[in-house]
Symmetry: C2
């Protein structure tokens, strides 16, 4: 991974300790030395966790893809003293999945952390390239749905009530903008960095990085020696979520602080109102919670089999 | 004004009459000959007016700055057979105001239309450059407030119950996005292409161009031989509204139709709910409707006098 922050002039002073600053954060109007940057970062995560009301003794299952966000979430939670366990789903996308798996393994080994690996092929019956042949054009949304559903199920199987994901400020603000522009008010209302468990088969969802943006996470990775998988998924083809992130980056460039104020304003006004939907029944095939008679996984599996 | 649309290949057929198409509209997936383009444009305005429920016999006062939007609104309403009268406020900004005034005059003369001119200097006591010397940095918002307030008052003085403005799709969608990103829900709820009169001193507001974007209005001007003032206001300095329009243009470029769907979705869900606030008293200086004890005009005038 290349340098993610530019060196500041030698006389720049850290906004906190007045030592030599190396990292400038224009959106916070601050510059930090490496130690104070790590403190800033960990304070933002602790603030998030406090809002998410997670007790320190609660064990956390961390969904880890091998990318920068999920490895950062795992690293900082571990640093903050939480008991964590990694959960990796191997999607079977050739070199991409191999590199991702390898990054998770190296990261966990170096820190003595435990993790479980599951294969989508074994769990669902098909690897992502096989699914892609059937669902070309909308593979990103199908993959997202499959991962979400399998993470729920595997968390229950592994006996964890809290599932952590690495969603960052850009992910959350971009998703919010997309839902607002599409006038999907029910999704706007439901979007939250903390979703309590609505059913014994669905864990609570936590996003401890929701206050930190991509560039802040990159800096954290560099300072902490985290080496995430940098290879791009070969099946991805410009998900629309990228466009909304791009639009927000443009606004942020013109009016620094916009992205943060935007997301936080919505989260703050809806504090306590949100939750995962609770009005579901059971899938008539697998018995898992489902909005319709058949759950998303069984319905996709049916489509895969019908088209074979 | 330069060419605003590219010539289509000679074999392009008009989507409506199959004659030679000259104008391509990607966001509508259509191409038109000039006659059918004018029909398309006038249909969009009629659709807007139908939604705004304006009876054909109602006389309309059109706020005309001399720019492309207001002249287009005036032209098409006249074409559609409405009784119209122009209302122009001379802001006193040197060459800019002179050129604007001259464009209104030339337009009205060519079509035999009546209009009234008012001078901000005479009505308010100060021209915009004088106000700018006091309110540098926020002159665009001060000017907007002054124009809004004076248009209300002059409409009443001229005895019109309906005030037309040239706000187009880009203006309305950009403003909506800005209000959503700033989480100003009360403004989101109030935004509408039609605001009924809430008080005898405040006219109903109509935006008959809200379904048409900037490029569509430019094409209309070219086809109809409208020559708007093209000179940029010398006091304007990047109002934030431009950034939101830019963000929407970016999204529109990636996902054609986004801007339109976005605005219409919000307008459609709030149909009938909106209105100008009705809970105001009277300004203790001028007696005009005001939210506080002193109206916006008198409060600005006070600030101008205090600083003299």
């Amino acid at each position: 991974m290349g340098r993610t922050f530019t060196e500041l002039p030698a006389r720049s002073k850290c906004s906190r300790c007045r030592g030599r600053a190396r990292i400038g954060l224009p959106s916070h109007n601050a510059r930090f030395c490496p130690d104070c940057y790590l403190l800033f970062f960990s304070t933002a995560v602790q603030r998030a966790l406090k809002r998410l009301s997670v007790p320190r003794e609660e064990p956390l299952l961390v969904a880890v893809s091998g990318g920068k966000d999920s490895l950062t979430a795992w690293d900082i939670l571990n640093e903050l003293g939480y008991a964590t366990h990694g959960l990796h789903i191997n999607l079977g996308i050739g070199d991409f999945s191999e590199a991702s798996r390898e990054r998770v393994d190296a990261f966990a080994r170096a820190r003595g952390l435990s993790w479980s690996e599951y294969s989508l092929q074994r769990e669902f019956g098909y690897s992502l390239p096989e699914i892609n042949r059937r669902f070309q054009g909308k593979i990103c949304s199908v993959c997202g749905r499959l991962k979400r559903q399998h993470l729920n199920r595997l968390a229950v199987r592994e006996n964890y009530g809290n599932l952590v994901t690495g969603h960052n400020l850009d992910d959350e603000a971009g998703r919010l903008l997309g839902n607002l522009v599409g006038n999907r008010q029910e999704y706007v209302r439901k979007q939250s960095p903390y979703l309590p468990s609505p059913h014994p088969y669905i864990p609570a969802k936590l996003k401890p990085l929701y206050r930190l943006d991509i560039s802040e996470i990159r800096i954290y990775c560099e300072l902490r020696g985290i080496e995430p998988a940098e290879i791009k998924c070969p099946l991805s083809r410009g998900a629309t979520s990228h466009y909304f992130k791009e639009a927000l980056d443009m606004l942020e460039g013109r009016m620094p602080g916009t992205k943060r104020q935007f997301l936080f304003a919505y989260i703050n006004t809806r504090q306590g109102e949100t939750g995962q939907e609770a009005d579901f029944g059971e899938c008539c095939f697998c018995g898992h919670p489902a909005y319709a008679d058949v759950c998303g996984v069984c319905s996709l599996k049916g489509q895969m089999e019908a088209k074979n």
